[in-house]
Amino acid sequence: MPRDPASAAPPDALRLRGIRKVFGGVTALDAVDFGVGAGEVHCLAGENGSGKSTLIKIVTGVYQPDPGAGIEIFGQTHTQITPTLARKAGIAVIWQDLALFPEMTVAENIAFETLLGNRPRWVSYARLRDTARAALARLDIDLDLEARLGDLPIAQRQIVAIARALVSDARLIFMDEPTASLTQSETDALLAVVRTLSDRGVAVVFVSHRLAEVLEIAARVTVLRDGRLVGVYPTEGMTQSRLSELMTGTSFAQAVTARDAAGPEVLRIENLSRAGEYDDISFTLHAGEVLGLTGLIGAGRTELCHSLFGMTRPDRGRILLNGEGLQLRSNRDAVAQGIAYVSEDRLALGLIQPQSIADNAVLSVLKRISGAGGLLSAQKKEATVSHWLRELAVKIGLPEDPVSTLSGGNQQRVVLAKWLATEPKVLLLDCPTVGVDVGARAGIFRIVRQLADRGLAILLVSDEVPEVFLNADRVLHMAGGRIIHQWDPRQTRLQDMEAAVYA
């Protein structure tokens, strides 16, 4: 009996065969096959630098693949893709680096899709706002549509990028680490939207280093390692540790590392307050201690860090370093006192994008690596750079390449290298693993422990409760600008801690 063509299965959203991409000496992708079914939520997993973002850029025509690639979108074969063609074929992307327009308003950024096209049309700002409002409503989030995008904190910019992808009637949406700087509730809202999209037949390719999320949302996961395909697996029956094993080729032990701090008190905070940001904060930090600080985004954690790093001034209270009162007028003072700060927003605060990896890594220690007469010593620079890049296992081509060519997670490691090179006494780590893969996370926390063993006092800020649970000696819970609780991870269960924080 002949088959009725109308009842045939819909074509796959995407089929890629033999995708290869070499940048200079780095093979970003090597003969990768990748497929997504219509309406499927498919996860793309892999360590930093494994080629996830590059794959997305090839499908969307930002990069051209090396010859021999086969690309089929909704059953149609394409020999060459341009960004416009990809958009018209029904593809939308939430870029890892957001690719938004800081000088334009939130409304224009979200409804940017409606401004595209070569034939000029008149712009209706009222319609732009309506479009933007509708997209935000789907996420159940309210933002000031007239605000300049560049004035928003990173988490809100991320939301704008997500809303932008929802404006078009895309049938295939790539989301490259959309949750990296979102709170739990915002993440939940996004995951709910992803499910609705998928129910409506929209395929979603989801990239995240938060494996719990991956297993929750996706039906299948494609794993890349070093630009090569490891395999495609159903998430049914998959565990986080199995997945990280597939991504890295090794397995990681997960155990609480807390212990009693033995060293002398280094930092003492007494009744520190700053109007509208944090209120009556007191705690102590000892040499050799890793103090965790968790809470939802907006709890005042980052604001507190800014004050401890001299970027803002508290209204009241005292900061004592080694028993002496500290007046920080600027972050330069803080650096001089041996305080280092790894910020959550590496794109804006951490790195000078067009400069080389090496230059960025030594940016904060220029004085120390200077030789006679204040000139930079090439040898010292090279020694410092290669030491830290090796310690942190940063995957790079050449130290001379611009930082902007690194994958997102590797950029984060360069930021860390930059600050570790200052050999600080107090290290403030503000969400140090945003966008960093499991293997590198383990590596970063191993280093954090080693630094503590060498006598550093470390404040570890994170909104991922498991992170502080596993890696801190004590955990402070911050909410609404105040510290409301303190835990000892050895005497608490992770579930209880998570319940309290995400409540």
């Binding site: 690719a99 070569n118 712009v123």
Partner: protein
């Protein structure tokens, strides 16, 4: 009001400064706030504003143009010969020719920038020199007085005899300036193409990934600047009544300074027509005021330099913040 301040903080600040300076000048000199002086300020700065709105579009798209003033001189010469060749011409043909010649010169810039991936400042410094060299070579530095009479005689749109017997008047360049401002405003604020120009200047990689054609953006930005330069060249003879090859060279930096003063950002993504107008006006009013006060003209440029430094160093002061704070 609040939303205007928020969207246009620089323009609002500039406006306040302009009012303050004007008030001060009208107190210091009785000649400043007179109909005759104000209209002549407008007449004499119309050409600068026409250039400024053309340059604005280039700055918004993240480029810079040094060649427009020289391009205006080139267009003047081309026009003289073209009008002679067709036996005279009239205003309609004049605008058509001047606009087209200017556009063509602008497209040369765009082509060089896009095709060879050279940054715009290098390209336009080169074309600035090339245009000027060619112009001096072919004109041998000669002045041209034999312009068609429709072109060289002043078109007075409005005049008024004041009580003292002197005439206040507005001439054609002022109307053309208004039209150029309106057209540029419509382009950059009201069309999708204009918003793409902002986006491209703001984040070129983001624009590229969204599928915006970079070559097209360059062509529109530099084409617009060239076209405005051509029209400005056509208008200049309303003031000088003759064509001199090296009359306009050097004006580009003055205009660039005024546009940056008006809030356009070197680097792209920001700037408005209103800001351009206020920027040109502020520089003009200051010079005019110093002139009326009898200050040496050599001091003008220094004072203008100081104003720009002040404007840029206070650009972090955002007046809308004051209102936002109060509203909380």
């Amino acid at each position: 009001m609040h939303s205007f301040l928020r969207a246009y903080p620089t323009e609002a600040k500039l406006f306040v400064v302009l009012i303050l300076i004007s008030t001060g000048l009208s107190l210091a000199s009785p000649d400043f706030l007179t109909l005759v002086n104000v209209t002549s300020l407008l007449n004499n700065n119309a050409v600068n504003v026409i250039w400024a709105v053309g340059l604005l579009v280039v700055l918004i798209a993240g480029g810079i143009d040094i060649s427009f003033a020289v391009a205006a001189s080139v267009v003047q010469y081309l026009c003289v010969y073209a009008f002679a060749a067709i036996g005279g011409g009239n205003w309609a043909i004049g605008f058509l020719f001047a606009g087209t010649f200017g556009l063509a010169l602008g497209l040369i810039n765009a082509f060089l920038i896009h095709q060879f991936r050279i940054i715009s400042i290098v390209v336009t410094i080169s074309t600035f020199n090339a245009f000027f060299g060619l112009l001096m070579f072919f004109s041998s530095g000669r002045f041209l007085y034999n312009l068609p009479s429709w072109w060289s005689s002043r078109v007075i749109l409005w005049e008024y005899q004041t009580a003292s017997g002197t005439w206040a008047e507005l001439i054609l360049p002022v109307a053309v300036m208004a039209a150029a401002m309106f057209a540029t405003w419509a382009l950059i604020r009201r069309t999708t193409t204009g918003r793409q120009l902002y986006a491209f200047g703001d984040n070129p990689e983001g624009a590229r990934r969204a599928g915006i054609s970079i070559g097209r953006m360059q062509a529109i930005a530099f084409g617009w600047s060239g076209m405005m330069a051509g029209i400005a060249g056509l208008m200049q003879t309303q003031i000088t009544k003759e064509v001199v090859p090296n009359a306009l060279i050097g004006r580009e930096l003055e205009v660039l300074a005024a546009v940056v003063l008006g809030g356009a950002r070197l680097g792209g993504g920001r700037g408005s027509v209103l800001g351009c107008f206020l920027g040109v006006l502020l520089v003009a009013v200051t010079q005019n005021g110093l002139n009326l006060l009898g200050v040496s003209p050599y001091a003008f440029k220094m004072v203008v330099g100081i104003i720009i430094l002040l404007a840029i160093s206070t650009s972090n002061l955002d007046p809308s913040r004051l209102f936002r704070g109060a509203a909380r």
